[in-house]
């Protein structure tokens, strides 16, 4: 054993740089694998841990006050799975905005509670750098979820101003601290904010009043089923569908949401670790083959001295086990630095702050797996020593005898001799190139995967917008019930700056939404309806087609895979006890609304609900048109929005103006809440009659879906995007290490030939160029294979996770070119050791 170890150590000493590079790869592999695995075990339970620690109840169901009835609580209580129910009140709005630190308005859903209500939802403490006295002295204190400090672009801190904007009104608060919000912790579902009792009363005038039922279940995961049964019972009880007014955050739902984004990061990490492991395996094989060929005569001497081929084989295995150990130990240390970063990222992405939980077994198992893997690869490869008995080894095997076909003879050289010699070199080392291609292909695959994810989650939402499952127009208008939407759309079409308009059914204002129930799949669907889907820019079917006829429908890929639906299958849809069958024509990428969107034509909608009329207009602007300006023109021309008027100040300079303002506010209120289609008023003051009607309110709401999306998921997207860029960098490092290592090995093995080339007048730059060009065909093949593989894997994974597959091919082509260039530069720079070769080495031989 001792002599085997001595041989191994001698070998390691001889190739310090290559050993260091391999140890570096194994270190990265260990660090990434153990961090990802530990991160998974840490993050998968972050919500359960937080809920266990702070949640007073496990599920949160909010219902708009207008639709809530006291009997609802009894419906829940009568469910045998429900163990406890509590009723509270909160405020909530999807129209709220906040001012970021640059003064820009940013959309953000907000739920508002008092401190007492907060303590009935969760018992999490307030975290603040301000003393209790300082907080008590604040006139309008506000407590925000941790995400306000970590995920929003403006990272708020204690003492900052936090302005809530509702319509034209602005309410200023001072950030007093942060806390763990169980159900509304992040931008996706919105923030739960805590305000003082007096501020709560002030906000009641502008925000929607909500009744909330907090309930617990046994088993704890039964919340989704309880919600579904509750909605069905309520629909039966009221004789009308109010499903869209009930929003439930169940334990299951929150747990899934808390891991979904960090899960993507962890999956990329695991994939990256596999890539590095494969690269390490190929490197080990390369090195052992090279070492055996280089040391053939020494092997012969050792065998002649009595070492068996098994001894020599074991010495190689021991060498790589030592190297693996040298990588695993710092890799483990490094993972302890990465895990807190991952935990922090996970907190940022989930919005939950839980204690870090490290599973020690993860490190041990990972280390054993990598160590064993390295040992097995080394042992199998070093078995080739057996092929060389002493006499054959003395003669350097038979590899130096070349009788092969002359590929690419130099007499036919047409252009650059460097290129010709490089291609000749490439053709002469096919085996090595297969290994290189495999290594670069997996690195390229990782790079492509990272790039696709970075692109999908990039801040401009170009790719992501094609995965939302809705048409993201520049301006989304919801019209009033009595408005002729088609006529208004036609008028808006002629406003300068407007490129085109499309009338549809999907808008930010959910009060129009006529939810459809998929009878045979027990899911409540949000309809997305257009007269003709062919004119849409972002909303496309990823498979099949969007519906054309009234008996056709499309669904999201997520919904299709959940219910095992194929094109041509029939879906039974129910509304107001009317059931109709629709043929599924295609699938749409959709990451919003959990994929519960149903795509049907207007005619298709009228088949099941003859009263259906579209109330949304998607406005697309010309390139360079000012969105705010066009919006102002629309509102100036067609009146203020109902939503803004409802919540605006009823002020004016004269008594008549003030009376009109109050009257319009009242009309807006009844139009918004009571399904009123027309209203008039007349007020007589002395001889003067002040009269008006609802005729001016053609627009119910004028919003910006892109901005909502940016605010809701922008922070998470950017965190994932940044992680993907980091992994892209790791893939680049892996590729660089492989190429540099290959160059070093090639130079070591071909030192004599390179000296000869120099002696006949080739400069070191010529030779570096030749070596870099030599790997280029392998690199090109590898990058193509990696890209194709990356696309296939990405499509599969994303189809499973989100049911989407949107690809930015121009970006991928550019990335491929850059990857090839990067590998070429690495090869060229990695071959710089040629400069250390002196022609005088030929003299000393």
């Amino acid at each position: 054993m001792e002599r085997i170890l001595r041989l191994s150590l001698a070998n390691i000493k001889k190739h310090k740089k290559q050993t260091a590079l391999l140890a570096l790869l194994i270190m990265l592999c260990m660090a990434i694998t153990s961090s990802a695995a530990a991160g998974y075990f840490d993050m998968k339970d972050i919500f359960p841990r937080v809920a266990e620690q702070y949640a007073v109840h496990q599920n949160f169901m909010k219902i708009n006050k207008e639709f809530y009835e006291p009997g609802f609580i009894d419906i829940l209580k009568s469910d045998s799975r429900v163990t406890d129910v509590e009723h509270i009140n909160t405020l909530y709005s999807m129209k709220t905005k906040y001012l970021d630190k640059t003064g820009e308005e940013r959309a953000l859903y907000m739920g508002v509670v008092t401190m007492d209500t907060h303590l009935r939802i969760e018992t999490s403490p307030i975290e603040s750098s301000l003393s209790e006295e300082e907080r008590a002295a604040l006139e309008h204190p506000i407590y925000l979820p941790y995400a306000a400090r970590e995920s929003l672009r403006s990272k708020f801190t204690e003492g900052d101003d936090f302005d809530i904007v509702v319509g034209s009104k602005r309410y200023s608060f001072t950030v007093a601290g942060f806390y763990e919000s169980i159900f509304l912790p992040e931008t996706n579902n919105g923030f739960q904010i805590i305000v003082s009792d007096s501020d709560y009363i002030t906000l009641m005038s502008v925000l929607d009043y909500q009744d909330v039922l907090l309930f617990d279940c046994s088993p704890i995961t039964a919340g989704d089923d309880v919600e579904m049964d509750f909605t069905n019972t309520v629909t039966d009880m009221l004789g009308k569908d109010i499903g869209y007014e009930i929003i439930t955050y169940t334990y299951n739902n929150c747990a899934t949401m808390s891991i979904i984004f960090i899960g993507i990061v962890l999956a990329i990490m695991m994939f990256m670790a596999v890539v590095i492991l494969i690269a390490s395996a190929v490197m080990i094989r390369f090195r052992i083959t090279g070492d055996i060929q280089d040391q053939m005569q020494s092997i012969g001497v050792l065998e002649a001295l009595g070492y068996t081929s098994k001894d020599i084989s074991l010495s190689y295995t021991a060498e790589y086990l030592l190297i693996a150990l040298a990588g695993i130990i710092p890799g483990t240390v490094l993972s302890f630095a990465i895990i807190p970063v991952l935990h922090s990222l996970g907190q940022r992405l989930s919005g939950h702050h839980g204690a870090m939980h490290i599973e020690p077994a993860v490190f041990f198992i990972t280390a054993v797996l990598i160590f064993t893997f390295a040992g097995i690869i080394a042992y199998i490869r070093s078995g080739m020593v057996k092929k060389y008995p002493p006499v054959q080894a003395f003669r350097k095997g038979i590899s130096s005898h070349h009788f092969g076909r002359n590929i690419l003879p130099l007499r036919n050289t047409r252009n650059s001799v460097n290129l010709r010699l490089a291609m000749k070199g490439f053709a002469g080392s096919i085996r090595q190139n297969v290994g290189l291609t495999a290594c670069i292909a997996v690195a390229a695959l990782a790079a492509v995967g990272s790039l696709i994810i970075a692109d999908v989650f990039s801040s401009d939402f170009e790719v992501a917008s094609r995965m939302t499952g809705v048409e993201l127009s520049d301006i989304n208008i919801t019209t009033a019930d009595y408005t002729d939407t088609e006529e208004l759309a036609e008028n808006i079409r002629h406003i300068p700056g407007v490129k085109r308009v499309i009338v549809g059914s999907f808008s930010l204002d959910l009060s129009h939404a006529k939810m459809l129930y998929t009878y045979d799949r027990s899911e409540l669907m949000t309809p997305v309806s257009y007269a003709d889907f062919s004119g849409l820019e972002k909303l496309k079917a990823s498979e099949g087609t969007l519906p054309v006829h009234d008996n056709e429908a499309a669904v999201s890929r997520m919904f299709a895979s959940k219910h095992g639906l194929k094109q041509g299958d029939t879906l039974t849809v129910e509304r107001n006890r009317v059931k109709k069958n629709y043929i599924i024509t295609g699938f749409v990428p959709s990451i919003t609304n959990n994929g519960r969107n149903l795509y049907i034509t207007h005619e298709g909608f009228r088949r099941i609900d003859p009263t259906f009329t579209p109330h949304a207009i998607d406005v697309f602007l010309e390139e360079g048109a000012d969105k705010q300006e066009v919006k102002s023109v629309i509102l100036d021309t067609y009146g203020r929005t109902i939503s803004d008027t409802r919540k605006a100040d009823a002020s004016g300079n004269t008594p008549e103006e003030r009376i009109r303002a109050v009257a319009e506010q009242k009309i807006a209120e009844i139009l918004a809440n009571y399904n009123v289609t027309h209203a008039e008023y007349a007020v007589q003051i002395g001889d003067t009659v002040i009269a008006g009607s609802s005729g001016g309110f053609m627009i119910k709401d004028c919003g910006d879906l892109q901005e909502v999306m940016q605010t809701q998921i922008g922070g998470m997207f950017s965190a994932i995007s940044m992680s993907a860029w980091a992994f892209l960098a790791v893939a680049a490092i892996v590729a660089a290490v492989i190429i540099v290592n290959l160059m070093e090995q090639t130079i070591r093995r071909q030192r004599r030939d390179l000296s000869i080339m120099m002696s006949v007048g080739y400069t070191s730059n010529d030779l570096m160029l030749q070596l870099a060009l030599r790997i280029l065909p392998a690199v090109v093949i590898a990058v193509i294979l990696g890209t194709v593989g990356g696309i296939i894997i990405y499509q599969t994974v994303m189809a499973v996770v989100f049911g989407t597959m949107v690809m930015n091919f121009p970006l991928l082509i550019t990335a491929d070119v850059l990857m090839i260039a990067f590998c070429f530069v690495c090869g060229y720079l990695g071959a710089h050791k040629i400069k250390t070769i002196s022609v005088t080495e030929l003299m000393t031989e």
């Binding site: 070349h402 009788f403 004599r752 006949v760 007048g761 400069t763 022609v839 003299m843």
Partner: protein, 251 residues
């Protein structure tokens, strides 16, 4: 007229912290179209001098002038360019590229300087035929050839670019006597065609082919012997003259 000359040329090697001065303040000149032989005992610095003169290696101190140009200040890449434009080199160990055919070995040298053309291919064919490497051997690999055949290929590779000066480091050192004679005949031919030759050798028979012999001892020139007065035909006189010179040098 000197095509190459040195001024106070010194070359030292560091070996385990010890400085070994191999060439010491050497001033020599190589004349145009001359056939210069460098002789000396083992370790006298012959090969080191040859490598310094040919731009294969840079001197530690002093200068090497090619015409009026001091090449001792050149970088490695400048020296490579200098070599391909002006020098040919023939090694004792031949150093053909094992993974290339005979013809490709020759073309590798040629293409380092020139663009490929029908003339270049023809020239390579002519030269190979001239040194006795027939067409049947052109597509063979070096390990399929005899030592003498390999050395002749090495010579063609050295002269394909018409270098002004051809350096040879014991070119017959690893050959049998018949092959040696053939190879030396080629060098004589090359010299007759107007190219300078600088050859290092231990062998008196090889040295007889030159017209000037420089003798080195401990890195310094201790004697020079001009063989031009003997003419080219009187081999006995040449032999006796060279014998005498070498005896004087302590050969």
């Amino acid at each position: 007229m000197n095509i190459l000359h040195t001024e106070k040329l010194c070359k030292s090697f560091s070996n385990g912290g010890l400085q070994q001065h191999v060439i010491k303040n050497l001033d020599i000149g190589i004349k145009e179209k001359d056939y210069t032989i460098i002789m000396g005992a083992s370790g006298s610095g012959k090969s080191t001098l040859l490598y310094a003169l040919s731009g294969m290696d840079s001197p530690t101190l002093g200068s090497v002038y090619f015409g009026d140009t001091d090449i001792s200040k050149y970088t490695n890449d400048q020296l490579a360019v200098f070599r391909r434009e002006n020098c040919g080199f023939v090694f004792q160990s031949i150093y053909l590229l094992e993974n290339m055919t005979v013809f490709d070995n020759v073309m590798t040298g040629a293409l380092a300087l020139q663009k490929n053309s029908a003339e270049l291919v023809k020239k390579a064919e002519t030269l190979l035929k001239k040194v006795g490497i027939g067409e049947t051997l052109w597509n063979k690999y070096p390990n399929q050839l005899s030592g003498g055949e390999c050395q002749r290929v090495g010579i063609v590779r050295a002269i394909i670019n018409d270098p002004k000066i051809v350096f040879a480091d014991e070119p017959t050192g690893s050959l049998n006597s018949a092959s040696s004679s053939d190879v030396l005949d080629i060098f004589t031919e090359i010299n007759k065609s107007g190219q300078s030759i600088v050859m290092v050798t231990h062998d008196m028979k090889t040295a007889l082919r030159g017209n000037r012999v420089i003798y080195l001892r401990d890195g310094a020139v201790i004697g020079e012997h001009d063989m031009q007065p003997y003419g080219t035909d009187d081999s006995k006189q040449r032999l006796e003259g060279l014998q005498r010179f070498l005896d004087e040098m302590g050969w």
